[in-house]
C-alpha cells in the first residue's frame, strides 16, 4: 500500500528536465551578455573603463540611426546594462521580465543590423568588441541568440504557470 502511494506521488510530480533546460538556457544567455559587455570594456589588450564609450560610440554611430547624444548615452550605458542583465539571468532573478528585456534588446539589435546590412553599410557590428565586421554570420548568430532568449522567456512563463 505504501508502495502504491509513492508511485502515485511520483507520477504527478513535474519532470525535472524543463527546469534543467531553463537553467542551462538562462545561464548561457547570461554568460553571453556578460561576454558582450566584457568585449566592450576590455580590448586592444587592456581595460578601457575611462574611454570605452568613445570606441563603442564610434561603432554605434556607424549605424546612422541615433543623434550624437543618443549615441553617447547608449555607448556609456549599454555595457553596464548588459552586465546587469547577464547577472540577473544567471541568478534567475525575475526571469520572466529579464527574459522579455533580453529578447526585446536582441530584437532591437537585429533590426538595426538587418537595416545596415540591407543598406550595404560596411560597418562594424559592435556586438562583441569594436572590430567585428557586420555580415550574414553576425545576423545568424544574433538571430540564434534571439531564439534562445525567447525560449528562456517562454520557458520561464510556462514553469511559473505550472507552479
Amino acid at each position: 500500500m505504501a508502495t502504491s502511494a509513492i508511485s502515485a506521488e511520483t507520477s504527478v510530480r513535474p519532470a525535472a528536465w524543463p527546469r534543467i533546460l531553463l537553467l542551462v538556457g538562462r545561464v548561457a544567455l547570461g554568460l553571453i551578455f556578460l561576454v558582450a559587455a566584457y568585449t566592450k570594456l576590455h580590448f586592444n589588450g587592456g581595460w578601457h573603463f575611462g574611454d570605452y564609450h568613445f570606441f563603442f560610440g564610434m561603432a554605434i554611430n556607424s549605424y546612422n540611426l541615433l543623434p550624437l547624444w543618443g549615441v553617447e548615452l547608449l555607448a556609456r550605458g549599454l555595457p553596464w546594462f548588459e552586465v546587469a542583465l547577464g547577472a540577473l539571468l544567471i541568478a534567475g532573478v525575475g526571469l520572466r521580465w529579464t527574459g522579455i528585456i533580453a529578447s526585446a534588446l536582441l530584437l532591437v539589435f537585429i533590426s538595426a543590423m538587418t537595416r545596415a546590412y540591407i543598406l550595404k553599410l560596411e560597418i562594424m557590428c559592435g556586438c562583441f568588441g569594436n572590430n567585428e565586421k557586420l555580415g550574414p554570420l553576425t545576423l545568424v548568430r544574433d538571430g540564434s541568440l534571439l531564439v534562445l532568449a525567447l525560449a528562456v522567456t517562454i520557458g520561464a512563463f510556462l514553469i511559473k504557470k505550472r507552479e
Binding site: L34, H42, N44, G45, G46, W47, D51, F54, F55, G57, M58, A59, N61, S62, L68, V71, A87, L88, I90, A91, G92, V93, E122, I123, M124, G126, N130, N131, K133
Partner: protein, 224 residues
C-alpha cells in the same frame, strides 16, 4: 539549500570580480601579446614623407587607406580635412598615411605609386587632396595622371612622374611595407585608423569615424 535571489547575485558578483582580477593579474607577456601592435619602427624621414603635421605632436593618427576606396574618400572629405584644420595645423596631431591598396580596386596601387612619388618630393598633402577630391573622375577608367595633373603646375606634376619612373622599385617596396604593417595589425578594411598617444596605440572601429566622436576622443587624450 535554496539561496535568496539577492544572495545569488552577491555570489555571482564575487565570482565575476575574482575572474576579472585574475584576468588583470595575468602575466605581462600575455597582455602584450593581445595588445594591438605598436607602430612599426619607421625612420623619421620615412614617417615624414607620407605624414602631415609636426613629428612631436602628442597624438599620432595613422590611416590605412586606399585611394580608390569610396569610404576612404568620404572619411577624408568629412573627417580628415577637419582633423587637419583643428588638430594637425595647431600641432596636436601628426597624421600619417599608410598605403593599404585593396585587390578589388584595380587603380589603387597606381594611385598609391603617384602619391608616394609626390610624397618623396614633399607634396603628400596636395596629392592626397587631389586624389580624393577627384576620385570619381579617375576611379572608373584609371586615368589618374590625366585627372590629377589639373591640380598641379605642369612642371611640378612632371617631376612626380619622373620620380615615380626612376624609383618604381623603392616606391613599390614602400607600399608593400605599409600593406604588410596593416596585415600585421589585422587591418581588413579601409579606412582603418590607429591612434597613438603616450606610447599606447589603439585601433578605432574600422570603416571610418565621425569627426565629432573623433574630436571628443582627441580632446580626452589631450586632457590626460
Amino acid at each position: 539549500m535554496k539561496l535568496h535571489p539577492i544572495s545569488r547575485i552577491g555570489i555571482l558578483l564575487i565570482v565575476a570580480m575574482a575572474v576579472v582580477s585574475s584576468g588583470s593579474a595575468r602575466p605581462k607577456s600575455q597582455a602584450s601579446k593581445d595588445a594591438a601592435p605598436s607602430p612599426a619602427p619607421a625612420s623619421s624621414s620615412a614617417m615624414s614623407r607620407k605624414a602631415i603635421g609636426q613629428p612631436g605632436a602628442p597624438i599620432t593618427m595613422e590611416v590605412f587607406g586606399d585611394f580608390q576606396c569610396p569610404a576612404c574618400r568620404n572619411f577624408f572629405e568629412v573627417t580628415v580635412k577637419q582633423v587637419i584644420d583643428d588638430y594637425v595645423v595647431p600641432g596636436k596631431v601628426l597624421l600619417v598615411h599608410r598605403d593599404f591598396p585593396l585587390e578589388m580596386h584595380p587603380y589603387a596601387r597606381q594611385a598609391a605609386r603617384l602619391a608616394n612619388a609626390a610624397a618623396e618630393l614633399g607634396q603628400f598633402e596636395a596629392i592626397e587632396r587631389a586624389l580624393y577630391d577627384h576620385q570619381d573622375a579617375w576611379s572608373t577608367k584609371g586615368n589618374i595622371e590625366e585627372v590629377v595633373a589639373t591640380s598641379f603646375a605642369p612642371a611640378q606634376f612632371k617631376k612626380f612622374q619622373s620620380y615615380e619612373a626612376a624609383h618604381i622599385n623603392e616606391i613599390n617596396a614602400s607600399i608593400e611595407r605599409d600593406r604588410m604593417l596593416g596585415v600585421q595589425r589585422n587591418v581588413n578594411q579601409t579606412p582603418t585608423v590607429f591612434v597613438t598617444s603616450k606610447g599606447k596605440t589603439e585601433a578605432l572601429p574600422g570603416g571610418g569615424v565621425d569627426y565629432k566622436l573623433l574630436k571628443q576622443y582627441f580632446d580626452y587624450l589631450l586632457r590626460q
